[in-house]
Amino acid sequence: MTTYTPNMNEMGSGTAVPPSPTPQTDILRTAETLRWQIGQNFHEQLMEDIYTEAARIADRAVTRPNEKPRFDLDRTIDRIVTSRIWGFPLMVLLFTVVFWLTISGANIPSGWLSALLLDTVHPLLKAGAAAIHMPWWLSGLLIDGMYLATAWVVSVMLPPMAIFFPLFTLLEDFGYLPRVAFNLDNVFRKSGAHGKQALSMMMGFGCNAAGVVATRVIDSPRERLIAIITNNFALCNGRWPTQILIATLFIGGLVPAYLAGLVSALAVVSIAVLGVLLSFALSWGLSRSILKGEVSTFSLELPPYRPPRVWQTIYTSVIDRTLIVLWRAVTFALPAGAIIWLMANVTIGGTSIAEYLINFLNPLGLLIGLNGVILVAYIVAIPANEIVIPTILMLTVLVTGITGVGAGAGVMFDMNGSAMKGLLDTGGWTLLTAVNLMLFSLIHNPCSTTIYTIYKETGSKKWTLIASLLPVAMGFIVTFLVAQVWRLVTG
């Protein structure tokens, strides 16, 4: 047995020395020798030289006449929108206008749509089904279940999206949004995120699925994942109505009537702000734990301003954003409607599946300051948050056995404020239930459309799972803590 004596200066003191060198092995040996002589940063140097040469050729061949004047107008606008004094107030003002237009402007078409789809078409369909002697279970499944859930989603979801997305796209097209990212970058940097997350978050206020798609503008892998996972904490259009309704009924009711509107609006806004703070906190946590090893880069282009192309913008935002999101929501709402109806109507030993589930989840629900009905509603409403309230109402009627309210088992319905408050009080609701419902509505798993979009965008089961389960775990923890502290304080 030979013993190895190290001699590191001797080239090729290896095991693979061939007995008689052929020309090929000679070349390989030479290459191997040269490989060690070209230096460590050979690739970087080569790449830099290629780029430098390309830039030199381009600079020599391309002339850029008269680009100064246009540039100066841009600089003037930039100086205003990114100034220390005017930058932030201007930003807050613009987005308040956008949200106000969306929420107040959507009420009217939403009313029309629900009058048409829910109050007119639905009875007509039922009558038609009765006329052709359709069995009750089939018409229930198809019309009360699938049609009604879909109609509900469309009437609540379509108008705000059709207003919000074009407005947002106009701001984007004008070139303002990158300046927002620029203004806010420091906050995002401190939480380990990319400034452009401001944009995907804002888009998330319209719809989380669209917000997740909007993270495509973030070119750094780590920051993009952060933006995707935390987008759920931007309170989307589907959840605004729930928040507004519960705040009006339970929190507005605490104060004199003339303050009610203001207080409930404040409650909703604080939930939305809490969502933004949570997304910063989660970004910070993620970038220090599971996302530590992902690649991170930063550069943010601030494109020149240009007059928005209004019609083109409206066309693309309606086609690309609104309709695609709506279509996905509809495809998920159809089976959800069927499941809701079946759960309420399929009985085992005289008790419906829904009641079994509610009774099973009730202890857990009560522990975290909610109840079984709410948890079941959130499970079946994974496809679309819009149907949470109608489902809760329907299930509450089912469980409490109140007669004279609603339209039968498995049929979602809406009702006016005071009657709804009365029904919910009968269902055992307290102020704590309302507060925790608002919190849970903010902090729970994304809807199935968003989950599917996350999967499409990340292409990874692992990140989809994390993005779906992390918020719901956080929701349970937050509502649990609030409930216990509440009970301690109020006795």
């Binding site: 590191m8 200066n9 095991t15 693979a16 830099e48 203004n183 090893g293 880069t297 216990q484």
Partner: protein
Amino acid sequence: MPDPLISLVVAGLLMGLSALIFWPEKGLLARWQNNRQITHRILGEDALKHIHKCDIKGRRPTMESIAGSLHIGTNETAVLINELQSQNLVQVVDGDIHLTLQGRDSALHIIRAHRLWERYLAEETGYSEADWHGQAERFEHQLSADELDVLAAQLNYPTHDPHGDPIPSASGEMVAHGGQPLTALPLDAPGQIVHLEDEPPMVYAQLIAEGLHVGMPVRVTEVTAERIRFWANGDEHILAPIFANNISVVALPEAPPQPEVESASLNDLQPGEAAEVLSISPNCRGMERRRFLDLGILPGTIIQAEMHSPGGGTTAYIIRGALIALREQQANYIKIKRQQPEVAV
């Protein structure tokens, strides 16, 4: 309804317990996995690596030095050496421990895995420099020779790890960097950093904090018993000799082309000022470097600072006619030579 105080306490205990078990790196589960991983095979491989390292440095590997580097007792070490000998990996002659050819190949495989993995972490992931070594210590035992070939191809067959250590080729060849400690470089002679020792971690952390990196040009201006003063890539550094000893340099035949004045980085530009790019720091690697090149940030490019973000920390620059915002940390990588504003764009 359970008493809220009791449920709070129970939940707190549960969460504390699960944190104790599942906490990354320090939790019981992570420790248990870690301990389970330190198998006999891994101890053997680490021992081979240690003996090879001693061989290269011209030291004599002993039972005690092996026990020390593996954090095990001398009894255990004796058993281990015995086993390695029976596997024909080491040979003990007159009390001296030697590697056999087969043992040397195993050691080189582990070294190749370690250094390729460090290179991979540096180029393709966002782990910080301080994390590279520890991660590579774990992964070096898990990669097969075929996997290493794939990894090497993916990284364009690198010759050196990010600290400047040579990566053995698949056939086991490597050439040491041939550098000398920084303290041995003659005064005012031009040199270049070829290696930064990553052990012990505390010393390495200090070198990282100084912003030193393999490939930087250096020039020593003062050596005393207490300190060594030198220029590296346009910045002046002062280190204790014990720290400077972990930096290896080679002498360069001629002075680097750039004049050695305290250079500025892009961060130092105020809005309205313009400057010419001198270089992108070698610290800036992988995707980040490519992004800079894509944006056209190259030696000779004129860059003008335009405005600061009102939130601070980010500044917009005019680069080849486009307005691009960079963060402080990024702008720091770009060394510049100041210009008069009139010349800009």
